[in-house]
Subunit: 143 residues, 2 copies
């Protein structure tokens, strides 16, 4: 079995602002050991972490491209119905997210939209006709 | 329960090159329905997908920053021992990955290094003294 992606860390400009977006805006729960240095959200499967952009860039040793546009990675959440996709996009909009693309039918047969979090990280909110889920909501790609 | 991150998609310059890196280089298995348009790796929890950078940027509607540096997101794999971290970093190096930081002791008590995949996406390979795992290797952050 391949080792999972255990944590996806977003480098953020303002930790409080981003924490409030995910916590109050989207309704996710930060873990009790979250601090003013790092915030964890205990999602099933890969965890989400928030950490200061400059510190994260320094840790990787790569030059900053903050604020310049698409960083090359999208994060997807898959839902069981088109209506749930619409609802999640509306929750994000109400939380102050920029709607990059309202949900539309996709050429691969699915239905998805994109919103950007406070730092511009793109989340795809998707439904697909052939997606199969485990009990914890994670995808089952193969049997 | 919060909806998981179902898929992490990397926008890549050369799909064949990236597929070969993860498949032959790191030894991960692409799913049978992977194509010359999109490649999926069926990791426990969040799946990894590879997709053409320009198409992914267009889908998000965000301007390209390809090749400019750190896109703001790191992906972590957590291992059970320091020796496994060293071994995985060596596997990545042998696969042609750029070693951004060799594994070092971190101020939070862990031990980790970073490598960059063929498009420069930074993977943190980490061990931590307090990490607890589920049977499928995903992290257990809270009880």
């Amino acid at each position: 079995m391949t080792t999972p992606i255990s944590i996806v860390t977003l480098g953020v400009e303002n930790l409080e602002r981003s924490r409030a977006f995910y916590e109050q805006g989207l309704g996710w729960s930060a873990t009790p050991d979250s601090s003013d240095e790092i915030v964890f959200f205990d999602l099933p499967g890969a965890k989400l972490a928030l950490y200061a952009y400059d510190d994260l860039a320094e840790e990787t040793g790569l030059p900053s491209t903050r604020g310049l546009g698409f960083g090359g990675i999208t994060l997807a959440q898959n839902y069981r119905t088109k209506a749930e996709v619409d609802q999640m996009m509306e929750t994000a909009r109400a939380a102050g997210a920029l709607i990059l693309t309202p949900p539309v039918d996709r050429h691969w047969g699915g239905y998805s939209g994109y919103f950007a979090d406070p730092d511009g990280y793109p989340w795809e909110i998707a439904w697909g006709p052939s997606f199969v889920y485990n009990d914890d909501g994670t995808l089952r790609l193969t049997e």
